[in-house]
Symmetry: C2
Subunit: 259 residues, 2 copies
């Protein structure tokens, strides 16, 4: 951090990247090393090697309380790293911190210096494992309707499918949201061929990583869980053989003459 304010406190929103620690940037490691306090969802904070910081862990759903707690700590002089799992700027804690700051409008938080550092997002890790499905225009959509109406999500999926984007789905499914992924796939299938490639990447970068390449016709929502990201190809997306025997999915840069 180039400058600190108040009584020396600051708040940095960082991301570990997906599972594998080889994906955490040197900047993120340095910010965490400079922090006195780590705040985050238990599973993400656990990824950070213990170097003596105070740890404040909470459950997955409590982003607003977590952001408020982090702002309080920083306002009282702590150097706080708020830990997200992938990129903190994509469906993660960066927006939650700004949102909490603006909604509460607390005088005591006004002087807290806040910084966001970029990180590798899980969807990029899944894309890299799969080949290059996001090599051309794509959309990124969270299928969670906890904080936005399902009608908004459904409309976005439909228009993105109509526009022939490749689609990346975060938060595709959970016990409380069992049908949304099936509905989203159905909305895409109305605009795209049954053979359109679909990639499911689960726990990518972790020991139990799994990657499945299937297509719209054979897609089964039951193959996804909370740790899965789903990529649906554009009409131009292709599956090819690779030397290691594993097929790859990529979206070409060049468009066919008859497109």
């Amino acid at each position: 951090m180039s400058a600190v304010v108040g009584e020396g406190g600051w708040l940095a929103v960082v991301g570990t990247g997906p599972g594998d620690s080889a994906w955490m940037t040197p900047e993120t490691s340095a910010v965490i090393a400079a922090a006195t306090d780590l705040v985050g969802y238990e599973r993400y904070v656990e990824r950070v090697a213990d170097s003596g910081q105070r740890r404040h862990v909470s459950d997955n759903r409590e982003e607003t309380a977590r952001a408020a707690h982090a702002l309080d700590l920083a306002a009282s002089g702590a150097r706080v790293a708020v830990i997200s799992g992938g990129d903190p700027g994509i469906f993660a804690m960066a927006a939650a911190v700004w949102e909490t700051l603006e909604r509460a409008d607390h005088e005591r938080w006004a002087a807290v210096e806040i910084r966001v550092t970029p990180a590798v997002s899980a969807i990029q890790a899944v894309a890299a494992r799969a080949g290059a499905p996001l090599g051309n225009d794509f959309c990124v959509i969270s299928l969670s309707d906890n904080l936005k109406p399902w009608a908004v999500i459904e409309r976005r999926v439909r228009l993105a499918a109509e526009a022939d984007f490749a689609l990346a789905f975060y938060n595709p499914i959970s016990r409380a949201r069992p049908w949304q992924l099936g509905a989203a796939i159905e909305a895409v299938a109305a605009h795209r061929a049954p053979a359109t490639p679909v990639v499911l990447g689960t726990a990518v970068g972790r020991a139990d990583e799994a990657l499945t390449i299937t297509d719209l016709a054979r897609f089964d929502p039951a193959a996804a869980d909370m740790r899965t990201l789903v990529i649906v190809g554009a009409s131009t997306t292709r599956v090819i053989a690779a030397a290691d025997g594993r097929p790859r999915v990529y979206t070409p840069r060049l468009y066919p003459a008859d497109y």
Copy 2:
């Protein structure tokens, strides 16, 4: 690399991340260190510290020739790192390598083990600097019509605007493509309020980094150049004050009751 093939050669498509070397992942550094040959656009290869590898640099437009050269080197036993600037999976060399492999269908490339490693993309760095404009659903579109028809791009921008995605534009402008950015902004403005925030991030992570926060009404394409990325907010995207005096742009997770 877990396994090598042929005469010990392999091809890894990696990304340095945007400008700042603190954004290059340890995995990417390790792959580059294990390589015998670096292949890429001159400006990106220059970012890699010299550790004795053979360097094969080329101009920005020559992705196909570069991919073929890298495949030839790997087939002849070299350990080749193809260097992209941001994330190799997003409008970069990963798709170019798979595309070249499939189109040429050369027997001599069939045994080359190919791997893609994820990296921080420039748009994520711009988003982090700006606050969290991509904190909710967003689309990523290259405005370059060198390899795809402008009608496809224009249609995608229009439908993404209609769906109220935040929009991230790669390759917004160049000497050969002077009007496309203005046309894209106009297409968005047809669906969104004049006060919608727009972020321009130029050379982010480099010494001459510049970040501009403006809005649709005041947007001037001349403020962008080849090294600029542009983010246009959704209807919910907000600008707020931050302690360091610089405004921030973020897209909330939570939707307003009257949305």
